[in-house]
């Protein structure tokens, strides 16, 4: 291996790692606030890419139908919940939030979809559509089980992953898609060719992480989420609604995943079922951080990206084997350094 190839692999690894880092952050965030191990995050990544690819064709993407469908289900669940709590007068408001807003987003996307829509607007529409799915998913699948054990929530996650993969096949078809890069330029730096796309991906990831940092450090909502993550009961006692915190967390997490999807689209062909492996690589990163530390999770994800890049060079057939076997030494290390805890 010469320096050129080495530099190329490092660049590849960092680019992929930056995307996994976004996912790892989303996973740590969701786990911290809701205790959900969010396996289906990968489907959101795939939806991101496939939505953008659909918009590229100038047609309304499958996400529009999916969003409208989930909004309808959430609406029915809200009506049922309001009636069984004897709060029928709250129905209009809840319907507006859970069905009206998502349907409006879907309608705007449907109306905007045309071959003339500029690229940046396509990205915004993609982010809006996929992000809107996040809180709906929380409402439908997780909120009724908010008090359940981590194990039950994990099984729900896997079930949701199954359902969303199948729905992805239905709404997007079996064809794979790639999206265009933001830039196909590259430049020489110290004898090494660096693509602008890679730089943009890394910059976007770092930028998003900075925004999140400010959100959690400087805003009341961010602090409320952190409080919920630390102590659910305590947060509830001082007036932070766990349902609202959960929904809000899923907004943020879905946004991170949708953005990952937009970033990953130019790098690899994405199919309706590609997300699973992507999200699990995010998980390997997040587990390195013990599912609690954001910086460690991001660093872990970067490490996963690098291992993957070098593995695909040396033993491409065994790339996945190597990346997923990586979890074993990581778990061994964590198991030897963490105290034994009892799960209640």
């Amino acid at each position: 291996m010469d320096l050129q190839i080495f530099a190329l692999l490092v660049q590849d690894g960092i680019t992929n790692g930056a995307i996994y880092a976004l996912l790892a952050l989303a996973l740590v965030l969701v786990f911290a606030v809701t205790r959900v191990i969010w396996i289906p995050s990968g489907e959101f990544v795939a939806y991101g890419t496939l939505t953008l690819a659909g918009l590229q064709l100038g047609t309304p993407p499958g996400t529009v139908g999916l969003l409208a469908g989930m909004a309808a289900v959430a609406g029915v669940m809200e009506i049922y919940a309001c009636i069984s709590r004897g709060e029928a007068r709250r129905i209009p408001r809840q319907l507006l939030t859970w069905t009206g807003v998502p349907v409006a987003v879907a309608a705007v996307a449907w109306w905007l979809a045309s071959p003339t829509l500029p690229f940046w607007a396509q990205i915004l529409v993609t982010l809006a559509l996929v992000t809107a799915l996040g809180p709906l998913l929380y409402r439908i699948a997780y909120q009724p089980l908010a008090e359940a054990s981590v194990l039950v929530l994990l099984i729900v996650s896997v079930a949701v992953h199954f359902a969303l993969t199948g729905l992805g096949l239905w709404f997007f078809g079996a064809e794979g898609s790639r999206t265009p890069p933001f830039s196909s330029e590259s430049f020489e730096f110290g004898g090494i060719r660096i693509s602008v796309q890679s730089m943009l991906v890394v910059a976007a990831s770092v930028g998003l992480i900075a925004v999140l940092y400010l959100f959690f450090g400087r805003t009341l909502t961010g602090k409320a989420l952190r409080a919920t993550a630390l102590n659910r009961v305590g947060a509830r006692l001082v007036g932070v609604s766990p349902d609202l915190a959960g929904a809000l967390t899923f907004v943020l997490a879905a946004l991170l995943c949708a953005f990952s999807g937009v970033l990953i689209g130019p790098i690899t062909t994405v199919y309706y079922d590609s997300g699973f492996l992507v999200s699990l690589k995010g998980f390997v990163g997040a587990i390195i951080g013990g599912l609690v530390s954001y910086p460690l999770a991001a660093a872990g994800a970067l490490f996963v990206g690098l291992v993957e890049a070098f593995a695909s060079f040396w033993a491409s057939g065994f790339k996945e084997v190597i990346v997923f076997t990586l979890i074993i030494p990581v778990l061994l290390w964590r198991s030897l350094t963490t105290q034994h805890h009892e799960e209640e």
Binding site: S149, V156, V158, A159, A163, W170, L277, I287, E320
Partner: protein, 592 residues
């Protein structure tokens, strides 16, 4: 559901079930025999998950990988080295054992969610490994696996194979059911959320977790071995992560609390998949595996609406059976006791700090054999922390605890239990679905020796009868004989506290630690409890009583140690303590 752990129907029910099973290959068309074979294979895997998930509270999405190890081991050895399939089964089981021990050791020491996450990772990793190794045939797989030979006959016909599959399935069901109704079974049922309690009665929960995981993995391996010789061909697809997830769905949909849930879940999911794969593409006008949407939604609904799965609904339709009576049996061996003199337990300058907070500050006291010592103090005085330092639930920061001349500070709870200290919990820790008898029998865990293998093969019956008789005696001793066969969760709180004492007594302790046993009791219940404690003392028991109900304590204790802010405020006879101005000030904020 306690019903799930008992055989749900009598001998006739079993015979009828077996007769129906045996009838299928004789009369049913080929299609149903094939389906029956798959249901059997899946049931074996799901059975392991019932034990792992429904009973022990762990889970695995990677069982399909263990199935793959069983299948590939025999495929490679029988096609390339012409080794007998029966030897291959042993090799496959050995490989699975080694892998499961390794993975279990790594993941089971940590919080519950690391194991399932790791299972997903290795499930994927093994799938790609199967698909990329040339000697395993890559993604095309291995063909030409020989048929099994059983008693000189080749099992080439699916109808013949059916008997082998279901024979093994029935043995697996039988042995798993035996296991659940035994000494290790009671401990396994405590693993889900009650590990701390189980440790206090001598269960090495870390080890038991691994044992359960290995048991489930071995079942999966057997299923894979059968699969390879039924299909006579293997490729990586049926051992991928999606199949692993479907196995878990089977256990959860069927009802992960009972061995029958495995069979029902395997049947339902197999049939549903068959039907959906036929119907959905026509219905939707697109081809694709859309059944996963239905399975996914179904799972979410089951977990939201009926977390116990289908089995409890079916169990209710079966006639209720009276619990088996407790047979008379010789008592379990009793611990040798020292003569009632000197000091039984000595606490010397015990200290516990949580960060900057000193919860117990250099506390010293002794307990003499045959006395009831009360440890009292206002809320937050550090009584329960001191209690946990003796029982081993918390490690000492400094100081020493000596029991019968041996230092026990820093030992694990199950090691301390082994030395003859029994305890109750401030917040009742019973397994609510289990009967009072079984809960109390768990207390006698250390007095038995039956392990998983003996229990599964039913070689433990003599000891089990003695344990049950011992538990029944402990229950009678505390006056709850009428509730012996009720589920513990159905009793009122006061009675549950008494069950806790019975469970501690079943351990044959020398020293009994009671953590606020009178909390939440009504006046009459307190009087009964006091009478019980006096009776135990008369029988020679030594008791440490942590309590803040003054009236109760004054009536039953021989001596008192008063704590406040982690320090010893006073020590003496109850009558002296009642007049002690320092104690009165601590309790009442100054002499009124």
């Amino acid at each position: 559901m306690s019903a799930g752990y008992r055989p749900p129907f009598g001998a006739w029910g079993y015979l009828a079930f077996i007769a129906v099973l045996a009838g299928v290959p004789l009369v049913a068309p080929q299609f149903w025999v094939t389906l029956g074979n798959y249901v059997g294979l899946y049931s074996i895997v799901a059975l392991g998950l019932v034990l792992l998930t429904g009973v022990a509270g762990q889970t695995s999405f990677g069982q399909a990988a263990f199935v793959g190890i069983g299948a590939y081991t025999t495929a490679v050895l029988s096609t390339q080295y012409a080794v007998s399939p029966w030897i291959n089964l042993a090799v496959g089981l050995a490989l699975t054992l080694a892998l499961a021990l390794f993975l279990g050791f790594i993941t089971l020491r940590m919080k519950g969610h690391y194991l399932p996450l790791a299972t997903i990772a290795w499930g994927i990793s093994l799938y790609f490994l199967f698909g990329n190794l040339d000697f395993l045939g890559g993604h095309t797989g291995l063909t030409g696996i020989p048929a099994l030979t059983l008693l000189g006959a080749e099992l080439r016909n699916e109808r013949h194979f059916y008997f082998l599959i279901w024979g093994i399935t029935l043995v697996a069901l039988w042995s798993t059911n035996n296991l659940l109704d035994s000494r290790p079974g009671r401990a396994i049922r405590a693993l889900r959320g009650q590990a701390e309690m189980a440790e206090a009665f001598g269960v090495d929960t870390a080890r038991l977790n691994i044992v359960v995981f290995v048991y489930a993995a071995l079942l999966a391996c057997i299923s894979g071995w059968l699969y390879a010789h039924l299909q006579r061909f293997v490729n990586p697809t049926p051992f991928g992560i999606n199949q692993g997830i479907e196995y878990l769905f089977m256990a959860v949909v069927g009802g992960a609390g009972s061995v029958w849930g495995a069979v029902i879940g395997a049947t339902l999911i197999t049939l549903a998949k068959q039907v959906l794969q036929d119907v959905l593409p026509t219905l939707l006008g697109k081809s694709g595996n859309f059944e996963i949407v239905v399975f996914g939604v179904l799972m979410v609904l089951v977990l939201q609406r009926a977390r116990e799965g289908v089995w409890p609904w079916l169990a209710r339709l079966l006639p209720a059976r009276a619990p088996p009576p407790v047979q008379a049996a010789p008592p379990l061996p009793v611990r040798a006791r020292t003569a009632p003199a000197g000091v039984l337990l000595e606490v010397a300058r015990a200290r516990k700090q949580f960060g900057g907070l000193v919860a117990v500050n250099d506390l010293s006291f002794v307990i003499h054999p045959g006395e009831i010592l009360g440890l009292i103090g206002p809320n937050g005085a550090g009584k329960s922390t001191m209690f946990n330092l003796i029982s081993g639930a918390l490690p000492l920061t400094a100081g020493a605890v000596t029991f019968r001349g041996e230092s026990i500070g820093g030992r694990k709870p199950f090691e301390i239990a082994r030395r003859g200290i029994g305890r109750t919990f401030q917040h009742v820790r019973l397994i609510p679905q289990m009967t009072v008898l079984n809960n109390v029998a768990l207390g006698a865990y250390l007095r038995g020796t039956s392990g998983v293998v003996r229990a599964a093969l039913k070689f433990d019956r003599a000891e089990e009868a003695r344990t049950r008789a011992e538990a029944a005696r402990a229950i009678a001793r505390v006056g709850l004989a009428a509730q012996t066969h009720d589920s513990a969760g159905s009793l009122p709180l006061g009675k549950q506290r008494i069950v806790e004492i019975a469970r501690a007594l079943a351990a044959d302790p020398v020293l009994l630690l009671l953590d606020e046993p009178a909390a939440g009791l009504r006046f009459l219940e307190k009087q009964e409890l006091a009478a019980l404690l006096r009776q135990l003392r008369a029988e020679g028991m030594t008791i440490l009583l942590v309590e803040h109900d003054m009236d109760f304590v004054m009536g039953v204790t021989d001596r008192l140690v008063v704590m406040d802010f982690g320090e010893k405020l006073a020590e003496g006879l109850p009558a002296e303590i009642q007049r002690n101005p320092v104690v009165l000030e601590a309790y009442l904020g100054g002499v009124a």
